[in-house]
Amino acid sequence: MDISVLVLVITFVVLLLVNVPIAIAIAAATLVTMLLTVDALPAVTTIAQRMSAGMDSFALLAIPFFILSGYLMGQGGIAKRLIEFARVIVGRLPGGLAFVNVIACALFGSISGSAVAATSAIGGFMIPAMEKEGYDREFSTAVTVTASTTGLLIPPSNILIIFSLASGGVSIAALFIAGYLPGLLVAGSLMIVCGIYAKKRGYPVGEKIPLSEALSKMLGAIPSLFLIFLVIGGIIGGYFTPTEAGAIAVLYSLLLSMCLYREIKPRDLPDILQKSVTTTSIVMLLIGASAAMSWLLSYENIPQMISASILGLTNEKILILLLVNLILLAVGTFMDMTPAVLIFTPILMPIMDSLGISPLHFGIIMILNLSIGLCTPPVGSVLFVGCSIGKTRITSVIKPLMPLYFAMFGALALVTAFPSISEALPRALGLY
């Protein structure tokens, strides 16, 4: 048993380091480990079967839809209107544009499901805009990168759907609602840091917007903001499943950007479809491969082994939560979010159960930890996308990122210590 864990970890790490695609490294490490105990043909057949079974789920279908609607919103003028809306509200505060950036990311997160989509949609507008007003490019990129992870907590969220799957069916609606307060908490902490930073650096206050223009911008954003009610209201009210809500979001953003805003033309569609398909399949291959590895781990009784050894160390709830946080932070630094959720949820869940920590609380802790990992090298997809959009280097973004990491850690500590931040809203709505 110990040998197989060792083989699994070593093969995986070696393959990762030579730059084998992560999904293929996961599947290949699983295969090598299985070959220790199983014949070749049954081994490859089992992995093929586990991969396709892992991808075969109606809940997962929400992911391509939220990816597609994310691209439509970014290109179709919806992101732009959310930014204008945020500018009217917080643009006049000191460091206003940094606040606008954070709020726009949170708003975008509340209609789309992925942090990468938020980074490219909001960052594409905000980083140049902030630079024009005298903010340095590195700070603007750092703000976009960290703020866009709030969308992973604020519903709809692809990763919460994946967590629901990995945890054996925790209600997606309850998870979605559980994410609101923690997501806003992260946004708030980031804004505090932005405010301090802006004051210290003497960043300008945004231009004054005449009342009539402010009103017209607020009005212009209403159709975009209506998506929140449509998607989340529809899911909470039980009118449609998250997957169906995703399809509705696609149709609605298509309608909005083609007919009302007129920023997407029919000839733009093949390109948008192409991008969504590619992004979707990257996530899907990761899901399939992780499902195979996760199956192998449970076949080898690894989750029980790990939970026994952790619970053998201590029974102190706070200490174990601290340990779990540290493990997840380390995992998030070296692993992409999707495989991390699929592989580590089944491992850590039994520990949480035995401590009486609710799956909602645990899910939010996990996503928040891994969100920090998305903003750190060496594996941080949001950081990479942010740097390529902000046209800066990862090494130069690290410095302005430091205080923002600090804000995220603060939010993480609060969310870990107070379960009600995650549980109060779903409980109030009778979802949990």
């Binding site: 695609p21 490294a25 093929a48 169906e244 399949s281």
Partner: protein
């Protein structure tokens, strides 16, 4: 050699078009499910199955296409620093791992899964589609990945004396 490369390029173009069509079909299918939910007393059960199968096909065929466009996530901090011979070795090793994965898991494992489920006459719950046909995308995707790896290796050697792009 150049005809081989051109053919592979055309195959990828065809896959790209197929993927877009599948995605459009997926959106229409699930939207139709919502419509039937509100209009008909009972939501259609077959739309859900179609959607799930479409997603597996999009996921696996798309993964092959993403492999060709080098879009899959990886860690390049070390491989970026390598130069000359060790860089070539590392690159070829990555191609080898990907090809072995594609051949062993997707082609052999996938094909075996297809044959097993066809033999057992396993069919889907509401459409009655043979599950073997759904799983056919596994060996298909494996075949594409092998093909694209071949293309990368050919490109690697034909560009050897020129500064490499990308």
């Amino acid at each position: 050699m150049s005809t081989t490369l051109r053919t592979i390029g055309q195959v990828d173009r065809a896959i790209q078009i197929l993927l877009c069509l599948l995605m459009v079909f997926l959106v229409i299918d699930v939207s139709w499910q919502v419509v039937t939910r509100f209009i008909l007393p009972e939501p259609s059960s077959y739309t859900e199955e179609i959607a799930r199968f479409l997603l597996i096909w999009i996921g696996l065929l798309g993964a092959a296409h993403a492999y060709r466009s080098r879009m899959h996530l990886g860690i390049d901090i070390i491989s970026e620093k390598l130069q000359g011979r060790s860089k070539t070795t590392a690159t070829l090793f990555v191609y080898l791992v990907c090809a072995v994965f594609a051949i062993a898991v997707l082609i052999i494992g996938g094909l075996n899964l297809v044959l097993l489920t066809l033999e057992l006459k396993q069919a889907s719950a509401s459409l009655g589609v043979r599950m073997g046909l759904v799983y056919l995308c596994l060996p298909l995707s494996g075949l594409l990945i092998v093909l694209y790896t071949l293309e990368m290796v050919i490109n690697h050697y034909s560009n050897k004396n020129h500064p490499r792009g990308r």
